[in-house]
Subunit: 269 residues, 2 copies
């Protein structure tokens, strides 16, 4: 039953195949989550738009299954251990690459830009998914490429927003190995600190000709449920035909798509 694709049923048939009471139960469970995980029967009934008597019956079932508990003193209902287990399993399934895929396609189609998603690999920011428009700009990065921490927009987005010691260590190593020319592109006194401040302030990173000659790029962070940067979405183009301004239309679109992917991973809005 799972291996062969089935024809898509019509909406009407699909509705018949569902289970109304199960959906109401899920709506009560989601309602309790949306109210912060704890609620009175009155407030929860109002939130889901059902009578308190009906919601009470569903809560009895949710309690039977260990998803909900009732506080003896306040009689409020709150989400229990089984709800934590469901969330933990869902978080293990949350995949930044899968979440970012439709974002890349929308960016490619709406802006006609080359774009990609990168995660922090053990050697640095690593491209894991790449999309090109019909007439792509020629760049020598592809899936598997490891990007610079200090001179690529992708690396700067991680550097500014992912607070992990290995990120800083990679940046410091790059700085130590840099040629005087490369070094001259950065702040003289506090090169890494200045990059981080810029990225944090803008909520994205932007470069023009620093990493690849003739290429500009903007990069924005994808956050997971824990508020950690789990990926970076980057758009790039030939300098001249590509506006890398942090308040320009491309940066705005990249930030918006990165937020959309973050929402799918459970990040707070």
């Amino acid at each position: 039953m799972t291996s062969s694709p089935e024809p898509t049923p019509s909406p009407a048939r699909e509705r018949r195949q569902r289970v109304q009471a199960a959906e109401t139960g899920m709506a009560v469970l989601k309602g309790l989550a949306h109210l912060g995980g704890r609620s009175s029967l009155t407030a929860l009934s109002a939130h889901v738009g059902e009578s308190p008597a009906k919601v009470h019956r569903y809560l009895a079932s949710l309690m039977e299954e260990g998803l909900v508990l009732q506080d003896a003193a306040s009689q409020h209902y709150y989400l229990g251990t089984e709800a934590i287990q469901i969330g933990l399993a869902a978080m293990r399934q949350a995949d930044p690459i899968r979440a970012a895929e439709p974002c890349l396609i929308r960016l490619r189609e709406s802006l006609e830009v080359t774009c990609f998603v990168a995660v922090m690999g053990n050697k640095g920011p690593t491209i894991v998914r790449f999309e090109e428009p019909g007439l792509p700009v020629t760049v020598n990065v592809r899936v598997g490429s490891v990007m610079s921490m200090l001179w690529s927009a992708t690396g700067r987005a991680f550097l500014g927003l992912l607070d992990e010691s290995r990120v800083l260590a990679l940046a410091e190593q790059e700085l130590g190995d840099a040629t005087p020319d490369m070094r001259a592109q950065l702040d003289a006194k506090d090169p890494i600190g200045e990059l981080r401040r810029e990225v944090r302030q803008a909520g994205c990173a932007s470069v023009k000709d620093t990493y690849l000659r003739g290429i500009s790029a903007v990069a924005a962070p994808v956050y997971d449920y824990a508020g950690r940067v789990s990926a970076v979405i980057t758009a790039l183009g030939a300098t001249g035909g590509f506006d890398p301004a942090v308040d320009g239309p491309i940066a705005t679109a990249v930030r918006r798509e990165a937020r959309a992917a973050s929402t799918l991973l459970g990040a707070a809005a």
Copy 2:
């Protein structure tokens, strides 16, 4: 309806008041979580003990409510964003003090010991719940007391198992302020490192006359869903009538109760 306590309904009446289809839906949701958050229809049906056709209808409802998604390539089902949100709300409700309360009562009743639960406050390990047997030993700690990081079993349990810089900072400050007598109770070369190693090896901390004269104690960690020590459960008694051995019956019971509280908070078994 929420403010006045209702008489407890009989089990038969309570069963009638529940909603069978909602419970089946929750069983499918929990089943998917217990299978790691992703499964084929076949494996999930076998896990919940229902026919694939029936489970398929419930999955359609779970998908409608955004709790479950289906992978287009493998046709496997996996937990989605709404499931993450439910888990996050449940985690916010997970309260180590509430989880540890029945543990304290069981320890008091089975072992006739004074016991308490402490959390890391900004001044150090702080007692937030305290239980005494009928004939308590006289101790000058109570709810609100801040315990020593280095000389109390409670503090040592945090020091050994909660890897946070403020814990180490508090311990180092205490060491700097210690009298030569107090200092002599610890390892001469690496006092903090040695304490941490002991606690990690035993999975609990044990002291005899170090913090309060004539008092022995054992303390074990309560972990949350993220594997972080969120509280410590401690049992204490008059040295002589209290066995603080890390493999003795009291330490075994304290570790067991701390694990029970951890399970309620969603910690991995």
